[in-house]
């Protein structure tokens, strides 16, 4: 029997190891699996490479994971969101590495990683500092740079509804990177707002088919990052 349900957040992230690459869903706070990130802080794995569009805000969620010294490197497109204080300080003092990737290239690298495509060519960043040192080719009168597919050991994502097979649907613009990260990670760990019986999600509207998912943990009332930040909260 296939049953990807896991009882606790702690059990869901228990095997994240030191030096792992972890993709974390979300665009700003939308889709941010904050309870899974906090469980990873409790778990304590260090030297992580984290892939996320941003670097979190305030002192909760991703920003708290970084502040807790667990992240050696960030791969992201926009590390200086409003309210993002932790990353800029560490970056300026040379304590964290940054790989800056254009947002669409980041998305396609993740998609390619999950689809078994080792590299691809894109016109994005041609002629800019972000193309320096990258292989270039000319197709049909235009220059392209080669970018590598990106894979991860783990993905932490959030969804609206899941079943025991790991079929997922999302909420509005909280979907963002989650479906492609689920494809690109060796172990995909999902926090869902509701868990339903197999068959209750119409197969026509499944966004992430269960084959891309390994563990599902229910968090019925996820915290809202911006509220925690406004309240000046810290984690732990």
């Amino acid at each position: 029997m296939i049953d990807k349900r896991i009882d606790s957040l702690a059990a869901a992230v228990a095997d994240v190891f030191d030096g792992a690459t972890v993709m974390i869903g979300g665009f700003g706070e939308a889709g941010n699996p904050i309870e899974l990130i906090h469980a990873l802080i409790d778990q304590g794995a260090k030297g992580l490479t984290v892939v996320n569009n941003n670097t979190g805000s305030g002192h909760v969620g991703l920003a708290a994971l970084i502040e807790n010294g667990q992240v050696a490197k960030m791969i992201c497109s926009y590390p200086r969101t409003v309210g993002s204080k932790v990353f800029p300080e560490l970056y300026r003092s040379g304590k964290i590495e940054l790989e800056l990737v254009p947002q669409g290239t980041l998305a396609e690298r993740i998609r390619a990683g999950g689809a078994g495509v080792p590299a691809f060519y894109t016109a994005t960043s041609v002629g800019t500092p972000l193309a320096e040192g990258k292989e270039q080719r000319h197709f049909d009168g235009r220059d392209y740079v080669m970018e590598y597919g990106l894979k991860a050991d783990f993905a932490l994502i959030k969804c609206l509804q899941a079943d025991r097979y790991g079929n997922l649907i999302y909420n509005k613009t909280a979907r963002n990177f989650a479906p492609i990260m689920a494809m690109a990670a060796d172990k995909t760990i999902v926090q869902t707002v509701t868990l339903v019986e197999a068959g209750e999600i119409d197969p026509e509207i499944v966004v992430t088919p269960g084959i891309f998912v390994d563990r599902v943990v229910t968090v019925a009332n996820p915290a809202q990052e911006s509220k925690l930040v406004a309240e000046g909260r810290n984690y732990p």
Partner: protein
């Protein structure tokens, strides 16, 4: 002659957005950058149907929600709450940037630090060593969207031209800008230089040329 920086000559930010909106064709799929470009949506002439794309996964972005109706999981690329129109669609990031990179989006309007005579755009970094580099989706948009419009003040706050022979800031894209809307003029990037399409009321060609560090063509 000395330029009076406070001289209220030319178009206001609202008027710049209004002027750009006139050039958005009926039926377009449009991506608007943060800042003045966002205002363009308010001024698209009546009778034209335009669908707004936001790169974090929504086609059919509506207006700003009324107070109390904001949803933290329904936001735009600037991470501000938005609404959906009837007929909107959500999708993941790879599909969203396939729309951009695959040349399905018709028009993108964005801001600039510098635009060169060749249409090179610099709008993401001043290149200062202690700055935190952040690019977001700007490089993807200029590389993939069919028509790139820039809205910007003609000069920086200290009076330096933003329309230049070649950009000194790190580029966002090479030869990507089609048209520039400034407070002084509407200008096309052409093989012969910056071509003036329209001057703001009371602004002369010479006045614009004096504030442009590249060849202006009537």
């Amino acid at each position: 002659m000395t330029a009076d920086k406070k001289q209220p000559l030319g178009w206001s930010r609202e008027e710049m957005a209004k002027r750009a909106a006139l050039d958005i064709p009926d039926g377009s799929y449009v991506n608007l950058g943060i800042g003045i470009p966002e205002k363009v949506a308010q001024y698209v002439p009546e009778g034209r149907e335009v669908i707004y794309h936001t790169e974090n996964g929504l086609l059919g972005m509506g207006s700003v929600p009324t107070a109390g109706q904001e949803d933290p999981e329904l936001i735009n690329a600037g991470k501000k709450p938005v609404t959906t129109i009837a007929g909107a669609a959500f999708f993941h990031h790879a599909d969203s940037f396939a729309m951009i990179r695959g040349q399905h989006i018709d028009v993108c309007v964005l801001g600039a630090m510098q635009v060169s005579e060749q249409g090179d755009l610099a709008n993401w970094s001043t290149g200062e060593p202690d700055a935190i580099p952040a690019v977001g989706g700007a490089m993807d948009l200029v590389a993939g969207v069919k028509t790139i419009y820039v809205i910007t003040q003609h000069c920086t706050k200290d009076g330096s031209p933003k329309l230049v022979e070649s950009c000194t800031y790190p580029l966002t894209g090479k030869a990507v800008v089609d048209r520039i809307y400034t407070d002084l003029a509407v200008i096309d990037v052409t093989p012969v230089g910056f071509q003036v399409v329209e001057l703001a009321p009371g602004v002369s060609f010479d006045y614009v040329q004096q504030r442009t560090a590249g060849q202006l063509v009537p």
